[in-house]
């Protein structure tokens, strides 16, 4: 019977997981672990207040601006670059080593350099997003192209397809799913990039709320800002993942086993 309810009610267990987490948080906050660690209830009240007085929505507007600009630029240039690398050996040899290094490097270390070169304005923040998001977007697009089933390419040639048809009708549709996954991972990196930028370059948006409330020791509000951006990023990425599964179901990509 227990087994059955477990399967029938995943939502119940998910909600229980949240309830447990927030419950423990509440306990830890009341104990208290530290003067600077507010319980869940106070944080929640602070969150509601910040939404009501408009400070949180305003912060999001200014945080999302460089994030969206950065991700859009990455999508256009990064996907283009990745596809170019996948299709042309020359482009691959020229740029693959760079992107492998970039993907492995702790990119946050570059942010002070960006400030040094581009100041503290919007450009610097957009760049911070791009620097973090671009490698995974480029690499995923590249891998998507390179992983095309060689048998499908041979089929296209056997039926007299031109190279152009091979790219448009076989390689690009095949790469679509990985390119989209790259965008999703890129956005996750972009969230990291923008928050680091707002904390390290100049405090604006969410970064400003976190730094300001921390400096005036209004810890519930500081925590509320942190929790809100964590939740916001998690929900956005989750939504994209669902969209991805809908747009590119695994069986339509030939990933199920051949029976």
């Amino acid at each position: 019977m227990e087994q059955k309810s477990q399967i029938a009610n995943p939502l119940f267990w998910q909600l229980l997981s949240f309830a447990l987490f927030f419950g423990l948080w509440e306990l830890a906050g009341r104990w208290p672990i530290s003067f600077a660690f507010p319980p869940f209830s106070k944080t929640f009240v602070a969150l509601v207040r910040m939404v009501a007085d408009g400070s949180l929505p305003k912060a999001y507007l200014s945080t999302l601006q460089p994030l969206i600009i950065g991700i859009v630029l990455c999508s256009i240039i990064g996907i283009g670059f990745g596809i170019g690398m996948g299709l042309s050996r020359t482009v691959e040899w020229l740029s693959l080593p760079i992107f492998i290094v970039l993907q492995a490097a702790p990119m946050a270390a570059i942010i002070p350099l960006i400030t040094y070169m581009y100041g503290i304005g919007l450009t610097a923040k957009v760049l911070a997003v791009i620097v973090l998001a671009a490698p995974v977007i480029v690499m995923n697009s590249y891998k998507g192209i390179r992983n095309t089933n060689p048998s499908l390419i041979q089929m296209c040639r056997a039926f007299l397809g031109t190279r152009r048809q091979e790219v448009i009708k076989i390689i690009l549709p095949h790469a679509g799913a990985l390119v989209f996954a790259g965008l999703r991972l890129g956005l996750a990196m972009g969230f990291i990039g923008i928050v680091i930028a707002e904390l390290l370059i100049t405090p604006t948006g969410i970064g400003d709320l976190i730094t300001y409330h921390s400096s005036v020791a209004d810890y519930p509000k500081m925590f509320a800002a942190i929790v809100s951006i964590v939740l916001f990023a998690a929900l956005t990425i989750q939504a994209l993942e669902r969209l991805e599964r809908k747009l590119f179901p695994p069986e339509m990509r030939g990933l199920e086993d051949v029976s």
Binding site: S151, F159, L160, E256
Partner: protein, 255 residues
């Protein structure tokens, strides 16, 4: 060489990068309107030879002539059926079957009309809008066959088309294939490693020895297929003799 050879293989050899010699000095004539099988153990280069005839792999030495023209690449007179089906997973049966025609620039109406006819011929009429993942292995290969028939090539090249299909489906498919091809007067070149399949289907069996592949013997089983059903063919003396003869030759390779 025989006058009615539609495919001629002249002194063809293939050495892969790294020095592996897959084929050496193959001379072969394949008669028009007949089903020829390339049979041999794994690694005898039979698939390589088929792909060289298809124009998908360039030979290292020698040349292939099809209908009096030297092969420089794939051509409209040849269509290929792949071992792993090679269907577009994101396209339904109709589009997959019409894909060869799509590549040749036919309009949607034209190619769908032709494709529907061939889908019906291979018995998939009810599955036009199904996707490959919804079909069994046997049905997927029917799609692969319909796609090859749709481009109306004279020569159908089949690379172990039944190897990933279960035994029952395989037998049924073999029977249907014989039936279909006899009506269409196609030339078929068929790669297999199954002795029974080769003897059952072929007018001519080309036996290849193991690496580097050379022709060890060409057998013409001379089975009377007109008016005899599949079970009669399998009891035909010439069929049984051919199976035995092939086995005796292949056995020598194993020793």
């Amino acid at each position: 060489m025989s006058a009615d050879a539609i495919v001629e293989v002249r002194q063809v050899g293939k050495t892969y990068e790294g020095g592996v010699e897959a084929l050496t000095r193959i001379d072969l004539a394949l008669p028009q309107g007949r089903l020829s099988t390339l049979l041999g153990p794994s690694g005898c280069g039979k698939t390589t030879l088929l792909k060289i005839i298809a124009g998908l792999i360039a030979p290292s030495r020698g040349e292939v002539w099809v209908k009096g023209k030297k092969v420089e690449g794939p051509g409209p007179e040849r269509a290929f059926v792949f071992q792993d089906f090679a269907l577009l997973p994101w396209a339904n049966v109709l589009r997959n079957v019409a894909f060869g025609l799509e590549l040749r620039g036919l309009t949607k109406d034209e190619r769908h009309q032709i494709a529907r006819k061939h889908i019906a011929e291979v018995g998939l009429k009810a599955f036009e809008s199904s996707y490959p993942h919804q079909l069994s292995g046997g049905m997927r290969q029917r799609v692969g066959l319909a796609r090859a028939l749709a481009v109306d090539a004279d020569i159908i090249l089949m690379d172990e088309p039944f190897s990933s299909v279960d035994e029952q489906t395989r037998r049924k498919f073999q029977e249907e294939l014989l039936d279909l091809l006899r009506h269409k007067k196609k030339t078929v070149i068929f790669v297999t490693h199954s002795i029974e399949e080769a003897a059952y289907l072929s007018d001519q069996i080309v036996l290849l020895s193991a690496r580097p592949g050379t022709i060890s013997k060409i057998i013409q089983p001379n089975i009377n297929r007109e008016g005899s059903g599949p079970d009669e063919i399998r009891r035909d003396k010439n069929y049984l003799d051919a199976v035995d003869e092939i086995w005796q030759i292949l056995k020598k390779d194993l020793e």
